[in-house]
Amino acid sequence: MMIVDALSWVLLVGGSLLCVVGGLGLLRLPDVYTRAHAAGINDTLGSWAILLGLMLQAGLGLVTVKLAMIGLFMALVGPVSSHALLKAAYAHGVRVQSSDEEPADVD
């Protein structure tokens, strides 16, 4: 029981640290495209670590199933919204800074 508890604390604290790092990235990185990668940290490992930590606290049961479904939903939806966001930005003509090549337009 001690080990499970300790593991869940590590996951909770590590996940929230990753989230803070992602938020820091939102501020520090130079343009929309790079910032979307930072938000990707929050969407994937940051939130999964926190949800996993909560699962270990909850033990087997309906609560754990609900947490798993939230994690699954985030995994399915995160890439879709960041893809839609960057595609809209690209179609709108936001430039990619320091790009080597400029492929044809996206409509």
């Binding site: 490992l45 893809h83 492929p103």
Partner: protein, 159 residues
């Protein structure tokens, strides 16, 4: 018929897990909402066309998902290290990647896997061409090397 049964089964199980109630009235509401969602998803099938049902894909994904999870963890740590570094040295650029999966579903899985790993985001999928934005040079090389593409092809069952 297997299609109708499996989607109804998924809806009923999802409803049961979320509610956890057993009273007749509430179960009746649950059955009604399952039927409503089922009707809406049938209507969506008419809009986007019926997708083929593939149970083998679900089995094969058991081999793919752990690998994908490992990649996600690795690239997450890479991007996190980049952000907290003294001066973020990003090399933000666009690359073209060939998605040679046979089916549309395979290409969508590939594009979504690329986006799911931080450091690379798919901007556009047109035919077999993927337009990918990469945060660093090493992230771009990781995609161009094509390991993920091969694994998705194998997942599809054609590779």
């Amino acid at each position: 018929m297997p299609r109708i049964l499996s989607s109804l089964l998924v809806l009923v199980v999802a409803w049961g897990l979320w509610s956890g109630h057993g009273e007749p009235l509430i179960v009746g509401f649950g059955a009604l909402s399952c039927l409503a969602v089922f009707g809406i998803s049938r209507r969506m099938d008419r809009v986007v066309g019926e997708q083929p049902l593939d149970y083998g894909l679900a089995l094969r994904s058991l081999g793919y998902l752990p690998w994908l999870l490992l990649q996600i963890v690795k690239s997450n740590l890479d991007v996190a290290r980049l952000i907290v570094g003294s001066a973020p040295t990003v090399h933000s650029h666009l690359i073209r990647v060939q998605a040679d999966q046979a089916t549309e579903l395979g290409r969508v899985i590939y594009a979504n896997s690329i986006t799911l790993t931080p450091g690379t985001i798919t901007l556009d999928l047109r035919g077999q061409d993927l337009l990918v934005h990469a945060l660093t040079r090493s992230a771009a090389e990781g995609v161009q090397e094509g390991e993920m593409g091969r694994r998705v092809s194998r997942l599809e069952g054609q590779g």
